[in-house]
């Protein structure tokens, strides 16, 4: 347990020390939020003030939150893990007396948390300004969105490790991150509330884990007080965490590395 805590703290300290990287993340995040919220506000304006029950203000808070949940993470993590497995770099981590996937997830959580804090705070200010000085649609629901954001990045990280573990078998998993990312974009509700999707696809999206990575915190921040979303996220975290551990355990047994 101490090893995981150290991994989280060390990674967080490294991210905080790299101010240039933080600045780029923040600039990129604010650009994305301003662009995507402009689009949705224009859509709400052209659609009688609401789109699938979301007002322009709710959509602004939705996008600011869904983007914070995803921009906080290393977008190419799957590629990086795949490269470490394919190149054999990961073999050095097998020598440690701690779970490889556990330490990796802990480090990534540590890297994501400072970014998440900075982006969420900036996102709240941006949402306030972009929506013409309107605060969050429901402050109580916004409070629930905070733990939901942390759960969202945790679910996303364990899912990426489970997904990237395929590199133990197919070696070249580099490009699969594109595919994964697109599921988060659309089925995960990052770019659009999943209620916008056609009925059949919406029902499928609600059954997939991607909704726990962006839609859940964004739905809460947009003024929908639905605490069950946190339970859904916790459930997916347990399931995907177990899958990631199983995939890495099986992969580590069949890993062969020449030289070192």
């Amino acid at each position: 347990m101490k090893a995981f805590r150290v991994a989280v703290v060390t990674a967080a300290q490294r991210v905080l020390a790299e101010r240039g990287g933080l600045l780029v993340s923040l600039g990129f995040y604010l650009a994305v939020v301003s662009v995507v919220t402009s689009l949705w506000r224009a859509a709400a304006g052209a659609h009688g003030g609401t789109v699938v029950g979301y007002s322009a203000v709710a959509l602004t808070w939705y996008i600011a939150t869904s983007e914070a949940a995803t921009v906080s993470l290393n977008i190419r993590l799957i590629e990086d893990i795949g490269n470490d497995i394919a190149s054999g770099t990961i073999v050095a981590e097998l020598l440690r007396p701690a779970s490889v996937v556990g330490i990796r997830v802990a480090s990534e959580v540590g890297r994501a948390l400072p970014r998440l804090a900075i982006l969420s705070l900036s996102g709240a200010v941006a949402a306030f300004l972009l929506s013409g000085g309107h605060g969050p649609p429901d402050p109580a629901a916004l409070l629930l969105a905070m733990p939901a954001l942390v759960l969202a990045i945790a679910v996303n990280l364990v899912a990426q490790h489970a997904f990237a573990g395929v590199a133990f078998w197919i070696r070249d998993a580099r490009s699969t991150w594109f595919l994964y990312q697109k599921f988060v974009f659309i089925a995960g509700g990052m770019l659009l509330p999943i209620e916008v999707l056609p009925h059949g696809i919406e029902r499928a999206a609600r059954l997939l884990p991607f909704m726990a990575m962006a839609y859940a915190p964004a739905r809460l921040a947009s003024g929908h007080f639905e605490p069950t979303l946190l339970l859904v996220q916790a459930g997916w975290l347990a399931v995907l965490g177990a899958i990631a551990v199983a995939v890495f355990a099986a992969g580590e047994r069949r890993l062969q590395v020449v030289g070192g």
Binding site: G20, L23, V24, G27, F28, A31, V32, S34, V35, S38, L39, A42, A43, A46, H47, V51, V52, D172, R174, S175, T176, F178, L179, Q181, K182, F185, I186, L191, L192, V196, L197, P198
Partner: protein, 258 residues
């Protein structure tokens, strides 16, 4: 003439290098095509739900995406180092290019093929053929507009990356790259006020996608001349900033392959 031949040879070698790993080549091309299809899905779903917005509907946005993916595929795929100028400058990786008897910027640009973005190039052409209502005239304007948009994008990326020569860091280049592609992939008319002005000036995203798409739909000689003028301005600006920056370039004489 000799320099042109050397540059053509460099690009052929870069292509051969990218093509050497066929499986990786096709995997990356297909991954980018899947990426682009997801964007198309987003826009189709969006307009299906909300209808037209400020004169933009799904057919106009598909034309905009055809121009953007083709021009960005051309620049980021065939001139792979265009987005890496800042990183190369900061990490002292330009030494090998400076020792060659060819213009360093031109050499750097043609030196690297980025396979993933060739998928964009292929996708953009197919998208125009399928959704761009191609006629001989529209195809001609599309081809010319893509070349001009690619020139603007290259000039902008080189200029943004060259800021690293002066700042010693590459954040401006990275941010410029992401901002340009982000803004260019959305209909320009959803923005207003200062944000819209920004897209026609500092981050000329409107000239990379929306203006060329408008020219294909409704050709206007004055607008076309403006577009060419902007391309000349950014091409010159990128070259001038890179050339001025080279005078400040320092490295630890690390011999790397740019």
């Amino acid at each position: 003439m000799t320099a042109a031949r050397a540059l053509a040879g460099t690009q052929r070698a870069a292509m051969a290098e990218a093509w050497a790993n066929r499986r990786g080549f096709w995997t990356q091309v297909i991954a980018m095509v899947v990426n682009d299809v997801a964007w198309i899905a987003f826009w189709v779903l969006f307009f299906h739900r909300v209808g037209a917005i400020r004169g933009w509907d799904s057919s106009k946005v598909l034309l905009l995406l055809a121009v953007l993916t083709t021009s960005a595929g051309l620049v980021l795929g065939m001139l792979g180092n265009a987005r890496r100028i800042g990183r190369l400058a900061v990490e002292g990786d330009l030494d090998a290019a400076l020792a060659l008897p060819v213009p360093p910027l031109a050499y750097l640009l043609v030196r690297r093929i980025d396979t993933t973005n060739l998928g964009d190039l292929a996708f953009g052409i197919v998208l125009f053929a399928v959704a761009g209502h191609p006629t001989p005239l529209r195809t001609l304007v599309f081809a010319a507009a893509v070349v001009v948009a690619a020139t603007i994008l290259t000039g902008f990326l080189v200029a943004a990356g060259s800021v690293a020569f002066f700042a010693g860091r590459n954040e401006a280049g990275e941010l410029g790259f992401h901002a340009m592609l982000m803004f260019a992939s959305y209909p320009v008319d959803v923005f207003s006020g200062a944000a819209k002005a920004l897209l026609y000036t500092v981050v000329p995203a409107a000239f990379v996608s929306a203006v060329p798409a408008r020219l294909i739909d409704h050709f206007d000689g004055r607008l076309a001349a403006t577009l060419v003028g902007v391309a000349a301005l950014f091409a010159f600006g990128g070259w001038a900033l890179f050339t001025a920056g080279l005078r400040r370039y320092t490295s630890g004489a690390v011999w790397t392959r740019a």
